[in-house]
Amino acid sequence: MTEKDLVIIGGGPAGLAAAIGAWEDGIRDMVVLEREKQAGGILRQCIHNGFGLHRFGEELTGPEYAQRDIDRAKELGIPIQCNTTVLSVTEEKVVTCVSAEKGLEIIHARAIILAMGCRERPRGALGTPGTRCAGIYTAGTAQKFVNLEGFMPGKRVVILGSGDIGLIMARRMTLQGAKVLACVELMPFSSGLNRNIVQCLQDFDIPLYLSHTVTNVEGRERLTGVTVSEVGPDRKPIPGTEIHFDCDTLLLSVGLIPENELSRTAKVELSPVTSGAVVNDLLETSVPGIFSCGNVLHVHDLVDFVSEESFKAGHAAADLILHGAKRSDTIRVLDGEGVRGTVPQMIRRGSADEVRLMFRPAGVYKNASAVVMCGDREVARKRAMIFTPGEMAVLPIPGNKVAELDGDITVKMEVKA
């Protein structure tokens, strides 16, 4: 068993930013472990632009954004060990990993940062009836085929789910020569950005069927067609509304889930709302010395926020390694009316550091405020013309207000009458 100050699991934007943050604070005895043969995470396959506006003030493509952090990590000399899969992490901070080059390795770390990202909900989670033929992929898998392997998975395509990855793939497949027949969404609204609905569907006259779902898939070896039906307010298919599409490919874009298998082996407490770890304002989990950041903590829409959060985790881990643990009593951050999945879920009592609360509004709120209450005292407020579930809201609490907190706080939405 080898000893290390810091082990970072995952070399996506989260792991890279965390590593850079810790290095800048003086940590040298560290390693980033990455399963793939290159660092960069999912951004390597997101070749469209629209990344980095907040952080760099310009719009980059996914590979360009990732490369900036990879270059910075290289320049600093941060060791990134690719082709290495982490198999387990324990509460005692023992990391077991395997690579073709080094075989099985066991590392004991003083601190660990979990940055494994998220994955797409697979088909099994859908319960779509019909045959189990080839030609059904998650949108992310198709994105990998087209953008990293230069291979088109099909010619006539139907997309189930109107999340951003599905919308982006509708345009991608069209530009590369396929015919996208329809994008089908169960809900009466799309969870994708307006920009993607306009530029990925409307620009190419691809119809969006809201309040519809796929009710049957046909084909023996290869998909030959799907049936789409309208759903009622109970989201159950309405008989007699069936539309048939001849297609050889069905792409699923039905949501992302944090990849927390390793958090479980480490006995990190998970939140049933975010499916990620429960953390304090330093992004430290219920297991002292284990931190979590990026999409494994909660699903972000903007990689810029992933980087911001992860730098913070890197700094916090460095502080713990250099100055020892400073566990203190915590106050809880609770979801109130109209608010879901606020992160962090805890704040250290007595801290005077700014805290940036992130959450998803439970619905669409126009001309509303997000408000933080401590008992019946208002602590912070953010007004906006609109809050929607498709966009993570950020609500900062200034350091001096954090210092005054004397009990649990609640985040809620308030609509002016």
């Binding site: 070749i47 530009l175 307006n194 920009r195 609109i386 929607t388 498709g390």
Partner: protein, 119 residues
């Protein structure tokens, strides 16, 4: 007189605007909540612009190289741009920012690589 409906993409409000036009002349824009919507609708009705990103195969590499137009090009030229790109043959090595196709379809805009691929 014709009417065009345009969804503003500049913020999550997603205002639906109606643009009244007489030929190529814009008479009236309604439905926007702020000035940014009007500017966007004006652009969309006169000369809509889009960034184009794609992948181009590279000889001797299993992985294609990702590319983008350096700046947005007229939306009407997207298909022509893709067609021009399908004729491009590249060889290793390729560096990020290398020009893959200069002045694509006479737009004055270069298509450049967004990733480095070494031999």
């Amino acid at each position: 007189m014709t009417e065009k409906v345009i969804t503003c993409i500049n913020c999550p409000m997603g205002c639906r605007m109606t643009v009244q036009m007489e030929g190529k002349e814009i008479l009236k824009i309604t439905g926007n909540t702020c000035k940014r919507g009007e500017t966007y609708a004006r652009q969309e009705c006169t000369e809509p612009m889009r960034m184009v990103t794609a992948v181009v195969p590279v000889e001797g590499s299993r992985m294609p190289v990702s590319v983008k137009t350096r700046t947005p090009i007229p939306k009407a030229r997207i298909q022509a741009c893709m067609k021009a790109l399908s004729g491009v043959r590249l060889t290793l090595p390729i560096h990020e920012k290398d020009v893959v196709l200069p002045d694509v379809c006479g737009t004055g805009v270069d298509v450049i690589a967004t990733r480095t691929l070494m031999a």
